[in-house]
Symmetry: C4
Subunit: 228 residues, 4 copies
């Protein structure tokens, strides 16, 4: 029992590392499988294979959950912990025999499997990176919010009359503000009046780096975490 516990809960033995890696690989395989299953062509041709694989993966997750419950040093602490709930939710539809009935609900529960990935060290590093920049991030999120609101209100005043369909309301203009200040520029909405274009120019020159800043902070923090 102690040997099994060490394999399941720690990664200081070769067997423990193999167990962790195998679980992670199966989670990723399941995510790929679930996404590939949404392609109509593949679903039509390989439906049975995909179904079997999906059942197999769920089976492995059930086994993993039983193993974790059986070997947990403090059983109730695990069951009520974040990962305990995630692990259970990821297999709940199967346990309740829901697989055949409501497909959409099952899929939502399956998405919870993404959270299982966060047990990996690399992803937890991302979490630490996010926490270490939370103060600066708060300033930028506030500034970004005000900037997007200001841009949306401004463009609404300049473009509403010329393009009542595209810039029909301030919340609707926010979509333009997001697509523009992130420099994505899909091209579905853009100003056509001289005033709107001059306003866009000024807002872009002053603001595009501010909108990009929160993500930049996370990226910078993620680079630093290597040293720790």
């Amino acid at each position: 029992m102690n040997a099994l516990r060490r394999i399941v809960w720690q990664n200081d033995t070769p067997a423990g590392r193999v167990f962790d890696s195998a679980v992670m690989a199966i989670i990723l395989a399941g995510l790929v499988l679930d996404s590939v299953a949404t392609v109509d062509d593949i679903a039509a041709r390989l439906g049975t294979v995909l179904g079997t694989a999906s059942t197999a993966i769920t089976g492995i997750f059930v086994t993993e959950y039983i193993l974790r419950v059986a070997t947990a040093p403090k059983r109730w602490k695990y069951i009520t912990s974040f990962y305990g709930v995630v692990d259970l939710a990821a297999i709940l539809p199967t346990l309740l025999g829901l697989d055949l009935r409501s497909i959409r609900a099952v899929r939502l529960f399956r998405l919870l499997r993404v959270l299982k990935v966060t047990r990996s060290r690399a992803v937890q590093r991302l979490g630490h990176a996010l926490l270490s920049v939370k103060e600066e991030a708060a300033i930028f999120v506030l500034t970004t919010g005000l900037l997007l609101y200001f841009a949306a209100t401004g463009i609404y005043f300049f473009e509403h009359e010329a393009q009542p369909d595209v810039f029909g309301s301030i919340p609707g203009s926010l979509w333009w503000a997001v697509a523009t200040l992130t420099t994505v520029g899909y091209g579905d909405t853009y100003p056509i009046t001289a005033g709107g274009r001059i306003f866009t120019t000024l807002v872009l020159l002053c603001g595009m780096a501010i909108v990009a800043a929160p993500a930049g902070l996370v990226a910078a923090a993620l680079t630093k975490t290597k040293e720790t």
Copy 2:
């Protein structure tokens, strides 16, 4: 009176902090309300509710203004100060009974309420960040201006004959220069001749970071302000 003054003008007491936060929350609520009111669906269904809420918020602002005038340590200094004028302008249409008559004028005065947000510490930090980079920003604004002018003139020479509608004049081509050098790239205007495309390539490789630089400076300064 002294206790009230301390609440209204300072935030070194719990009550003072609650007052500041409440005013800020109501300003933000008002901004959200004004923007939501431009959505036709919502305006049609919730017109009465929105109108009442808007009146209530204006009422609170009137009360706030009276409170500030009444408790200001130096009354005339406040009334003639930047925020004194902003606070008054934000409620002026109501005081003059203009709410029902010219809607557009009222809205412009209401936009002044955005300036009330700048009383918040976080936004003043943005102001300090902007001031601390004003020298570098001046260089970049000048360089960006020359670059945009150069790009617009160049593309006009290359594309005017091939696309007389899109690149009809140099000021009109400036819109292309802005959308391209900020890398937004809406797709409403782009070069189609070989010369115009080669020119675009060279201008982009040399200039896109320069156009992004002023905003980058502000973002960098904003990151540093945390330490102060």
Copy 3:
């Protein structure tokens, strides 16, 4: 004569600074004028005014050239110097009486006036910034060239059959490579095959910052020049 020379050639006196600023202001006014004159509406209504203003500016430039030649410490050195040639070329069409005949040729000579702006300190600072990063810039220009060639060749192989018009040749595909790797993304050309899209993803993830790097180097160098 010495006093005049000091005004024209140096800026250590108030009069010298006024002279420099006035010449710069007139150059910029001329550039704005030339660009505004390409707007059909304005040209039709204000044609005479613009023409007169243009003649006046050229007159000022002629006067400036005569002044510089007359007061230059070493006359021939100035006349044969870079700015001596630029100053002459900017007024050549007028001196030769070409204003009425070939409009296009005149315009090209007028564009030389942009070079007159480079006499300003701020623009020379840009020149120094460019020189200080020329080694790194060379590496990035080479890498960018290879990357664009590689991207264009790759997308040509993947997309040529599916979109023979859009990706008709490798040099033509370079336009796609530029618009994509600079993240401008006009939307006039984009891959539609699975292979082309996967290739685009990989090229973008590996290369978009490299294409942006030369301009980033210049922007960084420009920020540093303040300290000098």
Copy 4:
């Protein structure tokens, strides 16, 4: 023989540097030639010239290969080395007399000539830069992968019903995720529902710098290599 070996394999003599530069110039000329030959107009008019030039370049490569084999200090070591195989593969179709038969296969072998460029110092510097950031790059590639998967799954849930053609499957939605998070934004696919747009906003604000980070790391490492 020793003098020839020094010219071919080293660049510590003027003749050696000329040899290296000449080979590099011919490789680049060959790449330009191959790309220009895909333009129909040019192929039709200059077909014979291009063909002759292509044969000449291949001839030079054959000569280079024979020279290298003849003068290599350790013959078999070169022949079985990476560049030995690349050098051979680049001339293989000619040696086998395939030039007239299967054009496509020949072209694929010709693309191997790009690898010959990597013998240049500047390109090897890029290789070193890539190696020096491989740890951070691994973190970002993993994070980017998860982020793109998460974005694609999310947008599929929000937009699948509204735009079943555009967001038909999760792998198909990945294309949208790539074009959006790199801020390229072609405009071929974009969300139209309120939910999809809010989701896009959040994903962009949190993730766009992370997707740009791997390429940024390479660019930063490339800047540093100058000092070595």
